[in-house]
């Protein structure tokens, strides 16, 4: 009776046993996995649903038959998207705005963040404050519109890219990154070796800052990809619209205003609803793809960069 008990005790207190495998730790892991699994499901389910819905037939959708897997699989919606010159053009425009917005934003942020990180910069605190003020207090739509209008940017692609090209939040992250990772000592060493300020920035600071470059590219890219407001406000020519604005218009027009419901409108109504049901989910999928493709490439830098930048 007592033997097995003794054995157990000996086994568990043997010096070679793994540390940290106690009951409480195992319970902790289990809870941890459970919570993570719930979170993953919360993220994965909507994605799966949208993908399934985009492949299903519209009738199944309105009947509520689709909840996880596609019903009546077909690719009509995707065919319709690629048939629509507006959506294709919007997609290409969005790619253009995203690439240029990400590059421009990153360059500006690197420059500003690096300079603000250098302690010998005169009026450094004042300059930082100066950057913060407009970030916290926005002038509002009409004054901004006036600025863009008077600069002659209305209805040009620059109106989408330039306003808000640099985010102060990103500058602060970048500044902290440089403060932590490019200390004064390296600078002094480089000076001794004969590097001037530009050479130091380009040949030492920039190569050291791959993580923060990745973070900036991703932040600016995703923001630009998802944004529609600048385009809505400043663009008139539909050929310049980014995808998100085109999607917004499709969404708007799928809303049926019952007061406009006249007999003559039945055909229109049916056509609109069908188009919308067919396109809605497929468009979400299409709009989702580029960030999903880009993310894995920057992900390894992303975690590192955002974390370093966040610690003061």
């Amino acid at each position: 009776m007592s033997r097995p008990a003794t054995t157990t005790r000996i086994t568990s207190s043997r010096p070679g046993a793994r540390i940290g495998d106690t009951k409480i730790d195992r319970a902790y892991s289990r809870v941890n996995y459970l919570v993570l699994a719930v979170f993953s499901l919360m993220v994965i389910y909507p994605l799966t649903f949208v993908l399934s819905a985009s492949l299903s037939e519209p009738e199944a959708l309105t009947r509520g038959d689709v909840w996880l897997w596609p019903v009546g699989v077909n690719l009509e919606a995707y065919a319709a998207i690629f048939d629509s010159p507006q959506l294709v053009r919007g997609f290409l425009n969005s790619v253009g705005y995203t690439v240029s917005g990400a590059l421009l934003g990153t360059v500006l942020t690197m420059l500003a963040g690096y300079v603000l990180a250098r302690e010998e910069l005169p009026f450094r605190r004042m300059l930082t404050l100066f950057c913060l003020v407009p970030a916290l207090l926005s002038a509002g739509i009409i004054p901004t519109y006036l600025v863009v209008y008077n600069l002659g940017l209305i209805n040009t692609p620059l109106a989408v890219i330039l306003p808000g090209a640099m985010s102060v939040f990103n500058v602060l992250i970048t500044r902290t990154f440089y403060q932590m990772n490019v200390p004064l000592e390296i600078h002094e060493a480089a000076r001794v070796d004969g590097a001037n300020e530009f050479a130091f920035f380009l040949r030492i600071a920039v190569p050291l800052s791959k993580p923060i470059i990745a973070v900036n590219l991703l932040f600016y890219g995703v923001t630009q990809w998802n944004s529609w407001f600048n385009a809505y406000l400043y663009l008139n020519d539909q050929d310049l619209f980014p995808l998100q604005l085109v999607l917004r218009e499709v969404l708007t027009q799928s809303q049926i205003d019952p007061s406009q419901l006249a007999g003559a409108d039945l055909g229109e109504l049916v056509a609109q609803r069908e188009l919308f049901d067919k396109l809605k989910y497929a468009m979400i999928v299409v709009a989702m793809i580029p960030p999903l493709i880009a993310y894995p490439f920057v992900q390894k830098h992303f975690v590192k960069g955002a974390l370093i930048g966040a610690v003061k």
Binding site: R63, I142, Y149, T252
Partner: protein, 606 residues
């Protein structure tokens, strides 16, 4: 008038443009258009139209002068009947096909801001109807399209406000959803030109509509008694009761062996049969469906007290006095009835909380017995086949309450469409007035609606019948027309009753609108007197702000109370609970709210 006093005038009459539509988002956005930006806007737009500014800002509707027309310009008259005319039914009242000549050489190009619309219009500048209008009138127009609706379908004037603020004004706005309060305010401030005299001289078609439908003239006027808008009207018969119409699934009705109920108790029995016999065979029958977008009170409460459409905020008119019905003893009786349905297990919280999508899903599964919906398409997907679920829904007429009340949620108010608003930047407003007037002619109207004559639509043959069984006027060969052919409903139109009835309808396979008409007829017999219905009101700018604010507290409170009383979360039979509801409304300023409506009722030109 000298410039300084003009500025004074503007300051006197304008501070911020606020909608009266109770759209919180919109009100928020519009408050950014403050008096200062408004001043800057008008100032930077140049002091072109000084005449309009002389108008000052008297809000006194007192004795509006009859417009005399433009001096030394002969009054334009209706054109002769076109050689290519349709057959009209005998009692036809509405737009007719007429011949008109171009009146402009196109020397000046005018700019008009229009709503972006890629489903129907496509590119406004290359659109077929745009070209047709240019050939017809000679007026050269550059269209600038702007997205004017938010993703929820509500008006979104952010960009329009920015343009006005920046002084980037076009010659006119067509189809931009300004609220009546905004049109009134901007008109008084001189941003929009008054059109009264121009209409007298240049708009024979519109003057004809004034004669055909005497309500329109007053409806177009702003608070100062002037007309700033050239507007479309649609005499849509079935729309008059759509916000309060209920439907019943005919097959389900027959399956349970019931007939159309006539009293509230009949209705209860019917719902009980639906529940017990489950004609849907799904085990999840929904005896009665309604939801957030289609409130149930506009139907059911009319068996207890006159209850108007949701946008009237439970206001009706009694002997010229605006009154609020949702705190009356009769209202309480209605709530008691809902509560008893709940106690019988015939309704649940879904009746108040279901979204349009949820209702549609239930309907498509065939689970709905009685449904409160604007039209059948909200209860089941509309298809081309008349044997599908959507076509099985027939109107459920109002039922009689215990006190003998049996009314429909009917509105006789004019149903208007998009406006044309000419700005103070326009130097030849007469061109635009005439241009808009040409759109009211029948051929133009059909071309915009349906595309190209001959390929997309045509006149009806002699003997073909319309919705009411009389001679039809027109029919659609291909509908909707291809993108880029017409403007849909974004032109200035006159959908008179005769015009709407004039569409060819096969008696064996009636047109969809005919179904809606049939669903409206039993409601018309039960409509309340016109004098008791709240007319379309314009709130002045201060009242518009107050109205929007009060609306945001009062309306959700009443809506919530309906649900809570019905679902037993508040006890409708407890006098203390009821008194608390009434006194909370008092605290929320229901008196002031009613007063705002009373003032608007007294001052809105009619």
């Amino acid at each position: 008038m000298a410039k300084p006093s003009y500025a004074h005038d503007v300051a006197m009459c304008g501070s911020n443009g606020v909608t009266n539509e109770g759209d919180g988002q919109m009100a928020d956005r519009l408050t950014t258009l403050s008096r200062r930006t408004m001043l800057a806007a008008t100032a930077s737009a140049g002091m072109v139209a000084t005449t309009s500014m002389l108008a000052g800002c008297s809000s006194d509707p007192g004795t509006p002068e009859e417009p005399k027309g433009i001096e030394n310009v002969p009054v334009k008259e209706l054109g002769p009947e076109a050689s290519d005319s349709p057959f009209y039914p005998d009692d036809y009242v509405g737009p007719r096909a007429r011949d008109y000549e171009p009146f402009s050489d196109g020397a000046t190009e005018l700019t008009i801001v229009v709503p972006q619309n890629s489903n129907i219009v496509g590119d406004w500048n290359t659109n077929g109807f745009s070209k047709w209008m240019e050939a017809r009138t000679g007026v050269k127009i550059r269209y600038q399209s702007v997205l004017t609706q938010g993703a929820d379908g509500a008006a979104d004037l952010t960009k329009i406000n920015a343009m006005i603020g920046a002084g980037e004004l076009p010659d006119a706005f067509l189809g931009v959803p300004f609220s009546p309060a905004q049109i009134s305010l901007y008109g008084e401030q001189g941003l929009f030109l008054p059109l009264d005299d121009l209409i007298v001289t240049y708009a024979p078609e519109l003057r004809q509509v004034f004669e055909d439908d005497p309500d329109l003239k007053g409806n177009l006027k702003s608070l100062d008694g002037k007309t700033y808008q050239f507007k479309s009207i649609s005499d849509c018969y079935h729309c008059r009761v759509s916000p309060g119409r209920a439907w019943v699934h005919q097959d389900h009705l027959e399956d349970v062996g019931a007939s159309l109920p006539t009293t509230t108790e009949d209705l209860r029995d019917l719902l009980r049969l639906f529940k017990e016999k489950d004609p849907s065979g799904t085990g999840a029958m929904v005896p009665m469906a309604a939801g957030v977008d289609n409130r149930v009170d506009t139907y059911i409460m009319n068996s207890f007290i006159q209850t108007p459409a949701p946008d009237q905020n439970w206001m009706v008119v009694e002997d010229g006095q605006v009154t609020f019905v949702a705190n009356t003893p009769q209202w309480r009786e209605g709530l008691r009835y809902l509560r008893s349905l709940f106690d019988d297990g015939l309704i649940d919280s879904g009746l108040f909380t279901a979204t349009a999508e949820e209702v549609l899903r239930m309907g498509n599964q065939g689970r709905i017995g009685v449904g409160r919906a604007y039209y059948q398409g909200e209860l089941a997907d509309i298809t081309d086949s008349a044997t599908d679920t959507w076509a099985r829904y027939v109107a459920l007429p109002p039922v009689e309450g215990p006190e003998g009340v049996r009314l429909s949620c009917w509105s006789d108010n004019l149903i208007t469409g998009i406006p044309l608003l000419i700005t103070n930047k326009c130097t030849n407003p007469e061109l635009l007035v005439q241009w808009a007037d040409y759109q009211l002619e029948l051929t133009a109207q059909c071309n915009s609606q349906a595309g190209e004559k001959g390929t997309d639509w045509d006149w009806a043959d002699e003997g073909q019948v319309g919705l009411t069984g009389e001679q039809a006027v027109w029919w659609n060969k291909k509908y909707p027309p291809d993108v880029g052919k017409g403007w849909g409903q974004l032109h200035i139109y006159n959908f008179s009753r005769s015009y709407r009835d004039g569409i060819v309808s096969d008696p064996d396979q009636p047109h969809f609108e005919r179904r809606l008409q049939e669903a409206t007829e039993p409601y018309e017999e039960l409509r309340p007197d016109r004098e008791t219905q709240l007319p379309t009101l314009i709130f002045d700018e201060v009242a518009a702000t107050d109205q929007a604010t009060s609306e945001q507290t009062i309306v959700p409170y009443v809506e919530q109370a309906i649900a809570e009383f019905a679902l037993g979360r508040r006890n409708i039979n407890d006098d203390a609970v009821w008194d608390e509801y009434v006194s909370t409304l008092d605290k929320m300023g229901i008196e002031r709210f009613i007063e705002l409506y009373q003032t608007a009722y007294d001052t809105t030109p009619r």
